[in-house]
Structure formats: structure tokens, C-alpha cells
């Protein structure tokens, strides 16, 4: 059994994503089936009162999970909550960070709690989340 790499209070290395592009939003629309045009078509976004197209909240949430999903070979995510607090526009750069908030013994292994934060490179809050990961330690 591999020992977990985290201790309460640890700050994970942040992820800085490529600037939001129309193509990345079109790709997510196609892959997810969310064709709400405020995410891809300028006129539709303006008609909805927005200054421009905005990234899907669920794409931001998926990007937030990337700090933890590399550990899927040692356990699984048991809970994942996100509150969407701001809008992400074209060319914005999203930065994802996480802190380990708790570690608790449970039936199938240690459960780690994380606080996740997504903000733009300029420091505008986009989403806040919490995530629980069950470290079973089993590689196979």
C-alpha cells in the first residue's frame, strides 16, 4: 500500500490553463451535449445580456478536478461540490489551486478533504469547491 502524498495544510501545485478559446468551448459543447449558445455564439450571449460568450461552469468544474484525478490509480473521488461565483470570458486564463483541509480514517481507507479554488490570472474568483478523495492505496 502506497502512503498518501498529502498532509492537512498542504497546498497543491497550482495549474495554469491555456487562455479560454472559442474552439475549446465548442469542443466542450460537443463532448458534453450542452449546446446553450451563450457559450459559443456572440449574438446569443449579447442577447442574454452578457458582454460576450462565457465558459461552461461544468468545464471549469472539470478543470478543477484535474488537481486530484491523477490519483485515480490510488483511490477515488467520493464527493465533489462546486459553487460558481464568476463568469469566465474568452482569453481569460484560469488558475486552479487546492489545499488539503482534512484527513480521516474511513471504511475503505483514508478520506482526504480538499478546498479547491478557480480564479483568473488577474485574481477574479470564478468557482469555489470542496472535494473528498478516498485513498485506498491499491495500485492494482
Amino acid at each position: 500500500m502506497t502512503p498518501p502524498p498529502w498532509e492537512v495544510g498542504d497546498v497543491l501545485a497550482e495549474i495554469r490553463l491555456d487562455p479560454v478559446s472559442r474552439l475549446s468551448l465548442i469542443k466542450y459543447a460537443g463532448a458534453s451535449g450542452d449546446y446553450n449558445p451563450i457559450h459559443t455564439i456572440d449574438d446569443a450571449a449579447r442577447a442574454a445580456g452578457l458582454p460576450g460568450i462565457i465558459q461552461h461552469g461544468m468545464l471549469t468544474m472539470a478543470q478543477m478536478s484535474r488537481l486530484i484525478t491523477p490519483y485515480f490509480d490510488r483511490g477515488y473521488i467520493s464527493s465533489f461540490f462546486t459553487r460558481f461565483t464568476g463568469m469566465l470570458f474568452l482569453n481569460d486564463v484560469l488558475v486552479i489551486s487546492a489545499t488539503v483541509t482534512e484527513a480521516e480514517e474511513a471504511e475503505h481507507g483514508m478520506v482526504y478533504g480538499f478546498d479547491l479554488l478557480a480564479h483568473t490570472a488577474e485574481g477574479r474568483d470564478i468557482a469555489k469547491g470542496t472535494l473528498g478523495f478516498v485513498w485506498t492505496g491499491a495500485a492494482r
Binding site: K27, T69, F81
Partner: protein, 151 residues
């Protein structure tokens, strides 16, 4: 608005977690974890097979609540929360449905807002819950006008 429909439940829809759909989704979110994509490596992992990213349930069909119709514009996705018993497995069948969990109104700076809380559940063939989500949507004045509910 809609409070008489709290508790309404959609039909259950059978979904297959398709390998190609998982691959496209993983590429679209920029998470190229080999456990989603590399069949041989995944077969040797503790899962014994390919798994799907945690937000992949967004792709699944959770049925339609016939009692309500979300307005086409002015709806804000406020919160999303998942609970998982395990990851989704590529190739498995899941039976998915939606429940209208709550509807409540708040008076905001921009006028009346209606909060709609949906619960979505995915069960395996034995009726055991694999993942569920709670989603909060906020209907703004624009949305309420579209739904004929302007204050």
C-alpha cells in the same frame, strides 16, 4: 412557482458509458488520464477497466421532468455537487433519472429570483446508486419573463 411539483420524478433512462464519448470528453476537458484512455493500462489498474472523469455524468441522459420546463435563457447554474460510490466504468449501463428536489424564491438586488434544485441519480443494473448530483439553477428576471412568471 412550481412548488406543487416538488418531488416529481422523471422516467429512468438507460445510458451506456461509451468509450468514444469518454475519450472525447477527456480531450475536451484537457484531462488525458491514461485510466480514461489506455485500455491495457486500465486493465492492470485496481479498477481492472477504463473509468470516466468525475464530471462525465454531465453527458448522460437523466430523463425529462414533464411537469416543468426550464426557460431557454436567463438561467444561471449556481451550484453542482456530486456524490460517488466509485468512478463510472466504461462499457457499463446506468439507469438515470431526475427528481425536482426543491423550488424557492428570493428577492435579490436584480429583482425576484427563483432557485430550482434538481437531484440526478445514476444506478447500476442492481438498483444501487453509483453517482448522484444536486444541481442548483437560478432563474433570473429574464428567465422568469420567458416562463411567463415575471414579477
Amino acid at each position: 412557482m412550481w412548488s406543487e411539483h416538488i418531488g416529481a420524478r422523471s422516467d429512468s433512462v438507460r445510458n451506456t458509458v461509451e468509450r468514444g464519448a469518454v475519450k472525447r470528453f477527456a480531450e475536451a476537458i484537457g484531462d488525458l488520464n491514461p485510466l480514461y484512455l489506455d485500455e491495457e493500462l486500465a486493465a492492470e489498474s485496481h479498477w481492472g477497466r477504463l473509468i470516466a472523469p468525475p464530471t462525465f455524468p454531465r453527458v448522460l441522459d437523466f430523463g425529462t421532468l414533464t411537469e416543468i420546463r426550464m426557460p431557454p435563457a436567463g438561467v444561471i447554474h449556481g451550484e453542482q455537487g456530486y456524490r460517488y460510490r466509485r468512478p463510472l466504468f466504461v462499457g457499463e449501463d446506468l439507469y438515470c433519472y431526475t427528481v425536482l428536489e426543491d423550488v424557492y424564491e428570493r428577492q435579490g438586488k436584480a429583482g425576484k429570483m427563483v432557485f430550482v434544485v434538481m437531484k440526478r441519480v445514476a444506478e447500476d443494473g442492481g438498483g444501487e446508486e453509483v453517482v448522484s448530483s444536486k444541481e442548483v439553477y437560478i432563474l433570473t428576471e429574464v428567465a422568469l419573463a420567458g416562463a411567463g412568471e415575471a414579477s
